[in-house]
């Protein structure tokens, strides 16, 4: 059974139907790169998976728990899927360490010491052990995003949802974040990435999903798809992003 299963999901904002029946299985260890033009529904799809947006119909399950299901405690589900945002969204009043420690402390009810150890491990993993006492305002965008990754990892999730996590970064800071994601992928973390980094999608992704007008327009192994896109829309999209 797939870790994340999305079946015929629809979602409208007012009269604007953003997702028009999306189905997508994600297996453990998959690195799913979701690409597509703005407005194609990529971010909305991602946000439906942990219930930040509620879908109108269809079903999404994560490790057997149905998103928005009557029997589902969404907080249990959210422990399984971490989310990383375009705008980092660090807690501004806490240091890097404080950001990473908070949820293990208050959600997982860990002791101070245990949470601290885990948080320091995670900060070391993203290469920021030395920035533990810095506040977000004292960190570069790339560093903030790596703290955000450490914060999500400290909850020991089964999957990470990455919503355009490099789009707000200066070009020279993008790679430090992508390297961290690549390491996670190589360690077997299940990842769903909405991204505009085509090269990264091709080299690190195990599956490419091209969304177009609220549907999965084309999907498959990234390298094959990049080499020989089957639909005109994906051809144009790849062509446009090369230019």
């Amino acid at each position: 059974m797939p870790l994340v299963s999305i079946v015929d999901v629809r979602k409208s904002f007012g009269s604007n139907e953003v997702l028009k029946g999306v189905s997508l299985p994600v297996e453990r260890g998959d690195v799913v790169a979701i690409v597509g033009r703005s407005g194609s529904g990529k971010s909305t799809l991602l946000r439906c998976i942990n219930g930040l947006e509620s879908h109108d119909s269809g079903t999404i399950t994560v490790d057997g728990l149905e998103v928005g299901g009557a029997a589902t405690d969404m907080r249990v589900l959210r422990r399984q899927v971490g989310m990383i945002f375009q705008q980092f969204n660090l807690f501004p009043h806490l240091t890097a360490l404080g950001n990473v420690m908070l949820a293990p402390r208050i959600v997982l009810k860990m002791g101070e010491r245990e949470a601290r150890d885990i948080a320091l491990d995670m900060l070391a993993k993203v290469g920021l052990a030395d920035k533990r006492d810095n506040y977000p305002s004292q960190l570069s965008g790339g560093q903030q995003q790596r703290v955000a990754i450490a914060r999500a990892l400290a909850m020991r999730p089964m999957a990470l949802l990455c919503d355009e996590i490099t789009s707000a970064l200066d070009p020279e800071l993008i790679n430090e974040v992508l390297r961290v994601v690549e390491t996670l992928a190589s360690e077997g973390m299940t990842l769903m990435l909405v991204t505009h980094e085509m090269r990264f999608a091709r080299d690190v992704g195990t599956k490419l999903v091209f969304m177009h007008q609220g549907r999965v327009h084309e999907e498959g192994p990234p390298k094959a798809l990049f080499a020989a896109p089957q639909t005109l829309e994906l051809q144009q999209f790849i062509g446009a992003s090369r230019a």
Binding site: R79, N89, L90, F91, H93, L102, V107, A148, A152
Partner: protein, 220 residues
């Protein structure tokens, strides 16, 4: 004829002044703590609470912000006994000031809460926090930081406004001035000294609140 200042005439009443000063300080301190607590709860209820509660708090805020403090004080002290609640002057003064500051600080703190970026709240939710946990651990502190200067100003307004509690014979600083000048007829000197005392208190309070702010919200 030129009026001759006779500050020495206040000296026999120094203990009245000191007691009044102490009363004003303690009353302000107590009602600041309780008022800001009410404001924090009120602002939380308005922004994170269910709609009925939010509306109720909204009504409270409008009621207090659109009526004079003196009338609120009289209502608590003279009005409530009719409903069976008999209060001492001090209790009435404390309650009226708490209710008053509570309403204003609800609005001030609410502004801070509403200035929280949506994404920061979503980050907390995504980390499986409850709404209450998000409010308490993620939203409130930065909210206080944003509105701290406004809140400090309001606390000082309430402290200065506390002078009207002398109207129900609570023995504060203004009561002391009223009392002294009724005995020695040195109105100018009495009110001058008390005005100076208020000025000093306000300056001191501002400094303390500023120091507290930089302590609570460290930023490098």
């Amino acid at each position: 004829m030129i009026y001759k200042l006779q500050f020495a005439d206040l000296l026999p009443y120094w203990d009245v002044l000191v007691r009044g000063l102490a009363f004003t300080i303690l009353l302000t301190l107590a009602s600041t703590l309780s008022g800001v607590a009410v404001g924090t709860l009120g602002a939380s209820a308005r922004t994170f609470g269910p709609q009925w509660l939010s509306r109720l708090v909204g009504a409270y805020v409008e009621l207090i912000r659109n009526t004079p403090f003196l009338v609120q004080l009289f209502f608590v002290y003279f009005g409530l006994p009719a409903a069976g609640l008999k209060l001492t002057e001090t209790q009435a003064a404390f309650i009226a000031m708490t209710i008053n500051l509570g309403a204003y600080s609800t609005e001030i703190i609410r502004a801070g809460i509403e200035a929280t970026p949506k994404g920061v709240i979503e980050a907390g939710v995504s980390l499986a926090m409850t709404r209450l946990q998000v409010l308490r651990h993620v939203v409130l502190k930065p909210a206080f930081e944003k509105v701290w200067p406004a809140l400090a100003s309001q606390i000082i307004i309430v402290m200065l406004g506390s002078s009207v509690v002398s109207q129900i014979s609570a023995e504060d600083l203004t009561y002391a001035a009223n009392f002294i000048q009724s005995r020695n007829f040195r109105a100018f000197e009495s009110y001058f000294v008390v005005a100076l005392a208020y000025l000093m208190l306000a300056i001191l309070a501002r400094a303390i609140l500023r120091a507290l702010g930089s302590r609570l919200f460290p930023k490098a």
